[in-house]
Each structure stands twice: as structure tokens, then as C-alpha cells.
């Protein structure tokens, strides 16, 4: 049954239906509404059998989730931005230990400068931490991805990060269908850990591994993670929602395809409709990267425009690097468009200009920043040139 709900509320309800047993919580904007709602459900008894812990940091939150998961409990927490980075070490640990923790990231920029608004700098910076990364294009996807995430995580014994655009989705009210308890119970069996701290069958988890076996351990992690490419569609089928590793929209026969992930997908689809012959490929799964699906969807395109909400300073696109790898040997031109950093709205007028630039062939393989205020940049670069005050003198440079 659809209800008009806030995204965070719907995510919290979906998580609660999955019967998490331990939820360590630490506040950070724009994630906070989610754990607040879960805490309230634990308090009022609507979520029973769950320990809700108010911990002292995100690092502690992920650490407690690690302990809980290793002790056989279904563990969940949520964070964003600086909080995600603060739990970095524990994220690698959770994946290394193969603990099927589910984490919501309410995507937000990373400082400095401090910025509370939405982009993907946080989760993209952790793309290689060994977790499955799923990106929600809208709040209904966010709801379903959380249910699917627990099943996927526990099936493979790998942790799963569900990335949901901060504010844009977490704080948006829209009609949402949160599954009922019996539907989730039918789909998601109780957590049966592969390895557990058991007093009757003691194991040591977290041993030190030296050069003689570390590569093999790492390879097996990679192998296990890539299983998600096949298991995720199966799990989505089982859940009965139209979710897949990539969402191809009017891609067949399109000369120009815009690749993106997250909530900007909807606005881009609206703009693509205005043009015709422009497709949109939205990545739901970013880790493991669905190379084959991306290549299949884009292989015939002439121009691929990757609209990213983060970038690698000094290098360029993050998503587009993987897209280029997927398209190696095809004739597609891949451009990188960095858009919507730190909450800057990705607007239809800007996207229309972008598509026009792409179709004119101007974009080529460039790296561009959408809506960049060129005059401001040029002024500042000039000022920096004149005020250079550090380092040794350069030949021909300013004194």
C-alpha cells in the first residue's frame, strides 16, 4: 500500500521489517532521521528483539556492528560524509571479516570546506573498501534496496552499503510502498551466520595473515564480492521488484546515452525525453562494477556522457573510468561531467545545454564541470598566480 512518506522514514520502516537485532546509531546530517525513526520503533516496541545503541562515534558504530555481526546478530547502521570516512578503518575490517552488515549512506559532500549537502564524494571515496555499493535512484528503490541488501549480504557473507542521496531523497516526501512484515519475513529468513562466536564451538576470528596467504585471502574476497553480480539480480527477482544492476532507459538505438547513478537520474530522464534519441543508463550497482551489463547497454552508443556527483582530484571521473574500461575496444566516446557537488542543484536547463553540447560533438572525451562559474575560477587562478608566496623561486615565475 502506498503512503506519502519521508524517504528516511520509509527506509527506517523497511529496515525495521528486516528485523535488525543490533543498531548502533550516531547522528550526522542528513542521515539522522533514519536512526531516530528506528530508535523510536525500538522504544515503542514496534521493533522488538533489537538492541538500539547510542554510540560515541561512527567508528564505534561500525565497530559495534562488527561485534554484533560476528556474534550472530543482524546488524545495521547509517551514516554520511565525514561519518563514513570516520568509520573507514572499520569498513575495511567488516568486509575483510566477511560480515554481512548493511549500512545506509545518506550521501553528502566531504570537507573541507565543510558542506552538509548532497554529492557522492563520501561513498565514492570508499568504493574500494570491499563492500557492495548500491545506489538508489529514488526513494522506492531505496526502500526495496534495503530489503534486498540484507538478503544479498547474508547470502554472500559480504557487507552492503546502500547509498541514498542526502536531503534530495532522505528528506523528500513522496508516495512510497513500504513492504509489510509478512512479505519481508517470507523473503528474508533469519540471519544464519557462516561463522559465529560460539562458546560451544569456539573459533578465533580476525587472525593475522602473512604474505604466504594474504593474496589468496584478498582474491577470495574479490571473488565473493563479484558473485554479487549474479546473486543481486536473483535476489531482486525473489523480492519481486524491477531492480537490476543497471537500469537502461531508452538506451536501445540511442546515439547518446547519459550514464549516472543516484537521484539525478529522474531529472535526466525528463530531459532525455525532450530530445529523443537520448538514453539514460542508471547504475544501481557500482561495486562490484557491472562491466558486462554496462558494455551490453552502451556498446552501440556513439557518445556516452557520464554524469558524476564526485570526482578524483588530479585525475577526473571515477564512474567514467570504470565505464571506459567496460567500453574498451568500442567506438563510444566517453565524457565525464562532474555535476551537483556539495548540493548544487542539477537543473533541467543545465542538463539541456549539456545534452546539446554532447550531441553537437563538442563534449568529446572531455572532463567538464556542470555549471562551473568560469569567471570566479579565472579570477581566483589569476590571484593565486600573483600571490604565490611559498616554495623556491621558479625560473620566469613571479618574485
Amino acid at each position: 500500500m502506498r503512503r506519502q512518506l519521508e524517504g528516511s522514514r520509509a527506509i527506517a520502516e523497511a529496515v525495521a521489517r528486516c528485523r535488525p537485532q543490533v543498531v548502533p546509531a550516531y547522528p550526522i546530517t542528513p542521515q539522522t532521521h533514519i536512526v531516530e525513526a528506528i530508535g523510536a520503533m525500538v522504544r515503542d516496541g514496534s521493533l522488538s528483539g533489537c538492541e538500539f545503541m547510542t554510540v560515541e562515534s561512527e567508528f564505534a558504530a561500525m565497530s559495534a556492528a562488527i561485534g554484533a555481526s560476528a556474534a550472530g546478530a543482524r546488524a545495521y547502521t547509517a551514516t554520511a560524509s565525514q561519518g563514513l570516512l570516520y568509520m573507514t578503518e572499520a569498513l575495511f575490517n567488516a568486509s575483510g571479516l566477511g560480515l554481512p552488515i548493511v549500512l545506509t549512506v545518506a550521501n553528502r559532500a566531504v570537507g573541507a570546506p565543510i558542506n552538509i549537502w548532497n554529492d557522492h564524494s563520501d561513498s565514492m571515496s570508499l568504493r574500494d573498501c570491499g563492500w557492495v555499493q548500491l545506489y538508489a535512484a529514488d526513494n522506492q528503490a531505496a526502500v526495496d534496496l534495503h530489503v534486498v541488501a540484507f538478503a544479498l549480504a547474508e547470502e554472500l557473507s559480504v557487507p552492503v552499503m546502500v547509498c541514498v542521496d542526502g536531503f534530495v531523497l532522505t528528506h523528500a516526501f513522496e508516495p512510497l510502498d513500504v513492504p509489510g512484515q509478512s512479505a519481508v519475513d517470507t523473503f528474508l529468513p533469519p540471519y544464519a551466520p557462516r561463522q559465529v562466536l560460539d562458546v560451544d564451538d569456539p573459533v578465533a576470528i580476525g587472525a593475522m595473515v602473512g604474505p604466504e596467504a594474504f593474496t589468496e585471502v584478498r582474491y577470495l574476497s574479490h571473488y565473493q564480492l563479484t558473485q554479487a553480480l549474479t546473486v543481486f539480480p536473483q535476489v531482486c527477482d525473489g523480492w519481486g521488484r524491477p531492480l537490476s544492476t543497471v537500469d537502461a532507459y531508452r538506451v536501445d538505438g540511442a546515439e547518446t546515452v547519459i550514464v549516472t547513478l543516484g537521484s539525478v537520474s529522474g531529472t535526466i530522464k525528463d530531459v532525455a525525453d525532450e530530445f529523443g534519441n537520448v538514453g539514460v543508463l542508471t547504475l544501481t550497482m557500482f561495486r562490484p562494477f557491472p562491466y558486462a551489463e554496462v558494455r551490453k547497454a552502451l556498446g552501440a552508443a556513439k557518445r556516452v556522457v557520464v554524469v558524476e556527483r564526485a570526482f578524483a582530484p588530479g585525475a577526473g571521473g571515477i564512474v567514467s573510468a570504470d565505464v571506459r574500461t567496460a567500453l574498451a575496444g568500442t567506438f563510444a566516446e566517453v565524457s565525464t561531467v562532474v555535476a551537483g557537488l556539495g548540493g548544487r542543484a542539477v537543473t533541467k536547463p543545465a542538463l539541456r545545454r549539456l545534452v546539446a553540447d554532447a550531441m553537437s560533438g563538442w563534449l568529446g572525451e572531455r572532463l567538464v564541470f556542470l555549471d562551473l562559474r568560469d569567471e570566479l575560477i579565472e579570477q581566483q587562478i589569476e590571484r593565486m598566480r600573483q600571490r604565490r608566496a611559498s616554495g623556491p623561486p621558479r625560473p620566469g615565475g613571479a618574485a
Binding site: 519521508e6 534530495v168 528528506h171 516526501f173 513522496e174 529522474g266 537543473t347
Partner: protein, 189 residues
């Protein structure tokens, strides 16, 4: 698609207004989306919120730049914020004020827009009378429902009762109804 932009100050319930409007539209059987301007604003700072209502699922996520209606909860914002930016000539505007459009110094605007779509209402006073508290947001929604018919007043009542309980709900429902009746009577006069 009908797009509304709400302006006010932190603490006036501006974000709640947008959310309630979306709930009312949903209860009317329509698609709706509401979201705030995502600020770190504190009490008293200018805030914005948006609501879209449509008959098909809403995919777009950009802020509302070209609203069909603007609702202003605090007239002191008139000279600080571009309240009517992007509002078309056929757009609606509703300001919480005891003063008239002309008295607010907006006579210029009345020459370019449909006059009957621009109005003020003393929502704070009405709210205080019905709820005992000077929070104009639900009252303004009643006015907006009358002015634009974007949602039915019945759906708005239901939305308010879903969100609030007891005397707070009933007071706000009464305030919204009062604003609704007042504007309907002016429009039909």
C-alpha cells in the same frame, strides 16, 4: 504538474507545510513530492520548501525554480529574498500579512499578474485564534487550497489529522478551514 514554493523563517513550519500539502495531494489520489531547501538554517533564518503535484509519477528532483504558486509565511522576508523569482504572470501568491498587497508595497506586481491570484491573509492571527499558537503554516495551506484548488480542503483536513493529534489537529483544521472560507468568499464576491 503544479509546483509550489514556500518561503518563511526557521521555526514557522515551512517544511511541514510542503510535506502536508504533498500528503493532502496524495490523499486526493494524485502524485506528489515535497522537499525542503536543505539548509543548516537555525530558528529565524529564511527557509524554503517545495511541493510538486501531478497526475503522473514525478521524476524530477531539481528545486522549484518556476513555481505555479508561492506561499510566504513571513512578510518581513519581502525585502531580503527574491520571493517571486520565476513566478509566471498566471502564478499564484499568498502572503501571511494583515496588510493588503498594495500596503506591502507590491502594487507594481499587481500590474503584471492576475490580480485575483495575489492575496494576503492574516494567517498568524487566525492560527492564534484557533490554536492558541502563532504558527501560520496550516492556516496558509487552507488559503492555498482555496486560491489554487491544488488540493481539496477535505484532504487537507485528513493530512493535518494524520500529522497532529487532539487539540493541535483540530485547532489547525479549524484555522485552515477559516482561511479557506475567507478566500473562497473573496473570490466569489
Amino acid at each position: 504538474m503544479f509546483q509550489v514554493r514556500f518561503h518563511g523563517r526557521g521555526g514557522q513550519g515551512v517544511v511541514t507545510s510542503a510535506e502536508l500539502l504533498s500528503v493532502a495531494a496524495f490523499l486526493d489520489g494524485r502524485e506528489a513530492q515535497a522537499f525542503p531547501s536543505f539548509g543548516s538554517e537555525r530558528m529565524g533564518a529564511p527557509v524554503m520548501a517545495f511541493c510538486r503535484v501531478a497526475d503522473v509519477p514525478i521524476r524530477v528532483r531539481e528545486p522549484v525554480a518556476e513555481p505555479d504558486a508561492v506561499v510566504v509565511a513571513d512578510a518581513t522576508l519581502l525585502h531580503h529574498v527574491q520571493l517571486f523569482a520565476g513566478l509566471g504572470e498566471e502564478g499564484y501568491a499568498l502572503i501571511n500579512s494583515t496588510r493588503s498587497w498594495d500596503e506591502l508595497g507590491l502594487a507594481e506586481m499587481t500590474r503584471r499578474h492576475f490580480l485575483e491570484r495575489l492575496t494576503t491573509i492574516p494567517a498568524t492571527d487566525i492560527a492564534r485564534r484557533h490554536t492558541g499558537r502563532p504558527l501560520p503554516n496550516v492556516c496558509l495551506l487552507g488559503g492555498l487550497a482555496a486560491l489554487t484548488r491544488v488540493v481539496s480542503i477535505d484532504a487537507l483536513d485528513r493530512a493535518v489529522r494524520e500529522r497532529f493529534a487532539g487539540a493541535v489537529a483540530e485547532g489547525n483544521v479549524a484555522a485552515a478551514r477559516a482561511a479557506y472560507d475567507r478566500i473562497r468568499s473573496v473570490l466569489h464576491a
